[in-house]
């Protein structure tokens, strides 16, 4: 596996993007967008996290095996959160049976 050393310019671009996204997320939090406040904040956080994983942690050039492990980690985390949310959101959707 032979890789070139990543240029400072690439890292600087990612760095500036991360700072810009931080400003954006703080600015958006001052606006009242209702439900979209949360959606925007989390979308920006996911983008920032992905940038750090891909560039700073260099996963984009890591071996397939490493990518699989990284993906499995975040996938399991997603299972945890999605199943918790589906449970709490769907409570009370069905009428309580008479024998309860």
């Amino acid at each position: 596996m032979i890789h070139k050393v990543v240029s400072v310019r690439t890292f600087a671009a990612v760095f500036v993007a991360l700072l810009a996204l931080t400003f954006t997320t703080v600015a958006i939090s001052k606006l009242d967008l209702g439900e979209y406040n949360f959606i925007c904040a989390m979308t920006i956080a996911v983008i920032k996290g992905a940038l750090v994983v891909a560039f700073f942690m260099d996963v984009r050039r890591s071996s397939s095996l490493t990518k699989l492990f990284v993906g499995a980690g975040f996938f399991w985390m997603a299972i945890l959160l999605v199943f918790i949310l589906s449970d709490y959101h769907s409570r009370g959707w069905l009428p309580r049976p008479a024998w309860w």
Binding site: M1, I2, K4, S7, K30, F38, S63, G73, L80
Partner: protein, 231 residues
Amino acid sequence: MGDIDATLHPTSAAHPAGVRQDLKHHFDDAAQQMESSTLGMWVFLVTEIMFFGGMFGGYTVYRNMYPEAFASTSHFMNVTIGAINTGVLICSSFTMVLAVRAAQLGQKKAIIAFLILTLILGCVFLGLKGVEYHEKWVEHHIPGPGFQYADARYFHQAQILFFLYFAMTGMHAMHMIVGAGLLTALIVMAARNRFSEHWYTPVEMIGLYWHFVDIVWIFLFPLLYLIGHTS
């Protein structure tokens, strides 16, 4: 500055005999050894994802149960310090990645300089965190017998959020303190000339750890400071 024509994870064939690359006998070559280290480090980081995942899961449950109470606590979070700390951590990740890059190029002085910068930024983060914790102490926002909350309706529910706040930021700060210790060890190793462009695995692995801790904060900041800021 364009890509520099140096190879990463060099194979043993690329080096003349006698060049030190700390190749253990059970690996075929330096590339395989590096690959194993990276994979091993990621396995550890996956356990860390699970570890923090439990706390994020707890936060998800209680935020769904008490959305108004959780939103009301955002007014008592110091967004300015939180945002500055986010910036500080991003800067420290940038200097860390430059330290790894310097290691890959064998620039020994630059490694030390960037690692020291990273360590300083990490300490700035912890210092600001301390200022915030002190604010919480003064405002009686530390959960327990002395807890006070402006909105009596949310007294118990807001306390849950502050429990989560201290558990999550506290565990994150703990990881920062460990990271600072690891950085100090790296600086000592670099000063003793342990690293070269042929072997710099610890710099790269601790870099991964440092970036991971940064990612945790990237998610903590909006969840604890920004949610419900407008309501």
